[in-house]
Point group: C2
Chain length 375, copies 2
């Protein structure tokens, strides 16, 4: 069987071009992972997600354990079959979303007790149970169970939390066992404190993982603080393993993260924005609900190959948004996912050619121009 | 340019196999027309609608005149380009939906004044304006502007209404003019009274149309009464022109109508039901919200080629319905449209082979069996 392997193919400054091989296919890095929270990337058919160039999806352990349930998905043949996606899937550990979505949490060294946001039922999540659930789902890349405080938080709170997450990382590693073809990623914590990030990285490396995530960012600290951490955090992680920045982000966050040595990212932004009439383009964000598009026969982005841009006018996209038609979310989500994947493809090509800085300058110049003027 | 032409290719009892040629393509009859009310078949990409075998869509004049507006669609290149559908489109006249959807109507010989259900703005619709709007939309098959009372209604009310609709039919014919490649259909009224249906048919034939619709049914009279009318109404219309039964219907309505000599139908049922978890299958209606599907790995209908049936389990369809995910409506609408088109294809093949009765018996037998038993 194909082993889980990461190959670093080129670097340009700190930016890295690589490839992750798995039994379910190859993931080109830098990679953006669309989020398929409840076994669907909202408003998209999985074939359409694949057509944008996505090599891997993210699934949410928290949502799937509550509905339809991990044991049920296992009985039905695993998450890939259930949701008709045969490429790799990364699942998060559930920890972050227990904190952000569920009610009545009780956290201790053992794990976390919480009530479902769907039906109020009680659940217990531990490193061991998270590993079990992610195995039942059939995840290709499994994330350690961790805990992370919302920022700002006191350094003491961040340190305590990080150290517990490191003990949970060891328990996750022990519970995961040996599963050829499947990967377990550790998650660096430590907030915005370099010393704590370093301590966390050392703890994870001592345990040993197939990949390393940078956690606890994109939780309210702002881009400047995030980039401040990314100026040093990726360098603390092994050069020969993929580095995954969790929950990021906006296009310029993604570009800034890749520039600083990040290989993988995920975010709900392209799909969530697509459902609220917002499109990400080379010219920045375009809001299709704006009346200025009502008579505009031009495509959203004449340089984009997605169906929204190839087959429809801005006037149509405005009309279906205003009419609350499902095709509005379908087309704009598709466009946004295409745009995010086009950014990744552009960065991969630029790194291969040693032209990352020039690519980045062009990326920012296009956005600075702003959207095309009204007719 | 290709002319609008109807060719009757075979009959089996009263059931008819035919073909309508138009500059935008051929419509195989009996034909079912999916409804694209607001320039979209809800929850579907137009390519997907075409893939089910639909040769023609219906667009709603009432909705499109209010939003985004007929003049705007004309400026943008017409409805086909606007909604990315290059095959034929039939538009209704707006009359029926003014009656069923708008507020504060005032009806007289001239036409009808009403307030938009969207923003309360005032509008005036007449035979002449309806012809103008349908021309601005670029409709291939234009419907006469008519009026129809909800049933039950007194015979006197039905007769008065029918006679005004016949005067409006003449005004529609005059306003439509000569538009090669485009068709104008007259609409027979007369409720459930054979004499009035006959009077209406004679009036329409005296004017002369490219096709003839049977209107004023499927408005609450029930299947038995509808079939009662269909036992004689199609025979009153010219044999060499297509016959279109408006707003019908459920699968057994459609089969019963074709059996009685109807060539074309339209209905929102497959798409509307798809968005509420209801699937039409060879075994009857299957309600995906039912908990009995939660662990069922079997397809919705193992004989169906749509993506919902090819790629997903009932358990998945149940899960995404319960989770209110958009893919639920997307998949079930696709399935329902595929099933409706499969019925039409089955009837066309059966008529060609002179096997309509056998096909109809098998159709009813499958439905009588009911859905497959729970696991």
């Amino acid at each position: 069987m194909q082993r889980f392997e990461f190959t670093l193919k080129a670097t340009d400054g700190k930016a890295r071009l690589g490839e992750i091989t798995t039994p379910r296919g190859t993931i080109r890095t830098p990679a953006f992972m669309p989020v398929g929270t409840a076994a669907t990337v909202k408003a998209m058919m999985p074939e359409s997600v694949a057509s944008t160039g996505a090599d891997i999806l993210l699934g949410n352990t928290y949502h799937l354990m509550l509905r339809p349930g991990a044991e049920r998905i296992d009985r039905l043949g695993g998450l890939h079959k259930f949701m008709n996606w045969d490429k790799p899937i990364l699942t998060d550990s559930g920890g972050f979303q227990v904190m952000s979505l569920s009610g009545l949490r009780k956290l201790n060294e053992e794990g976390v007790r919480f009530k479902s946001h769907i039906d109020g039922s009680e659940h217990h999540l531990t490193p061991e149970r998270s590993m079990e659930i992610q195995k039942l789902l059939g995840s290709d890349i499994v994330m350690c169970f961790d805990e992370c405080p919302a920022l700002p938080a006191t350094e003491e709170r961040v340190a305590q939390s990080m150290r517990m997450s490191m003990r949970w990382a060891q328990r996750s590693r022990d519970a995961f066992g040996d599963r050829p073809g499947h990967a377990l990623f550790g998650i660096q914590q430590g907030g915005v404190t370099e010393e704590l990030r370093g301590e966390s990285a050392e703890a994870l490396k001592a345990i040993g993982f197939d990949g390393y995530a940078i956690g606890g960012l994109a939780v309210g600290e702002g881009q400047e603080a995030m980039f401040g951490v990314l100026d040093y955090a990726p360098d603390m992680l092994p050069v020969d393993r993929p580095r995954y920045l969790m929950g990021v982000g906006k296009p310029d966050d993604i570009v800034g993260a890749v520039k600083r040595g990040v290989d993988m990212m995920d975010c709900v932004l392209p799909s969530r924005s697509g459902r609220t009439g917002q499109a990400f383009t080379r010219h920045g964000v375009v809001n299709l609900k704006n009346a200025r598009h009502a008579d505009d026969p031009r495509p959203l982005d004449e340089g984009c190959a997605c169906p929204a841009c190839r087959n429809y006018s801005r006037a149509y996209l405005h009309h279906v948004y205003r009419s609350q038609e499902m095709i509005s979310g379908m087309l704009l989500t598709w466009h946004n996912l295409q745009y995010f994947q086009d950014i990744m493809a552009g960065m991969r090509a630029a790194i291969a050619e040693g032209q990352f800085d020039a690519w980045e300058a062009a990326f920012h110049a296009g956005r600075a121009e702003g959207d095309i003027p009204p007719l």
